[in-house]
Point group: C2
Chain length 119, copies 2
DNA sequence: TGACATTGTGTGCGTCACGCATATATTCCA
DNA sequence: TGGAATATATGCGTGACGCACACAATGTCA
């Protein structure tokens, strides 16, 4: 309950924040990997600018949407420069709330015949 | 085709612009009526601030998303202060494109189990 | 009639999130 | 060995936002 209200207070989420949370939903990733993941999942349609991404991550750390992780991959596959992030319970609640908000926006347009038919 | 590309170049639409276009989709309205219409259709969840609304309308006029209308209601139901607006072909294309974009965002979240089930 | 809320449009101001450019260092690979 | 890719970060300008405020006409009610 409190989590849901805390999440609701953060809406609307900035676009880049939404993408970062979706990218982290199924596992930890470092910044640059988030960049590539978003681009791949959207077939190149969404390309985050690096500057905005890293600033968004800093904001998200302060807001408690993500935490930095100490888990590092095997030394042979690691890169010291990387900083890994994990989504928090609040982060998951926030992206769910934002998804619902966006879904309602689409419904508004759909009611006027302005949205694609339900896929 | 050209219209679709012109509309695509305006994405993402500012949130208030999206709401104004949806409000105008089924008929002409003046600014203050748009304010009330959005609030009513969203059950009070979305309340546009007047300042942002009127500035958005000015932007939209310059971009050709809406045009000011000379049609006035019967004098008995009119109010000289009002300024009426009509959505353009470009405006309709833009809100359709934005709806599709938002719909794709929801799909991204849905693929990770973070969006409400299809309503 | 006088007071006050509502309707209606508009500007001033500060802030946040953004893209683009740039900085800096490391790693990969031909 | 030199250039592309990887990786993170800051500088700067802009656009859209909310809130406060301004100002006038209209409606309501004591």
């Amino acid at each position: 309950m409190t989590i849901e209200r805390d999440a609701a207070a953060l809406l609307p989420l900035p676009e880049v924040t939404f993408h970062v949370l979706v990218a982290l939903a199924d596992g930890e990733r470092h910044g640059y990997a988030i960049l590539q993941d978003v681009e791949a999942r959207t077939d190149g349609a969404v390309r985050l600018s690096a500057g905005t991404l890293y600033r968004a991550i800093h904001r998200m750390l302060e807001q408690g949407l993500v935490v930095e992780s100490d888990d590092r991959p095997a030394r042979s596959e690691d890169d010291e420069r990387r900083r890994y992030y994990r989504i928090t319970v609040l982060g998951a609640a926030a992206v769910r709330a934002e998804s619902a908000r966006l879904s309602r926006l689409v419904e508004l347009a759909r009611a006027k015949g302005l949205a694609p038919r339900r896929s």
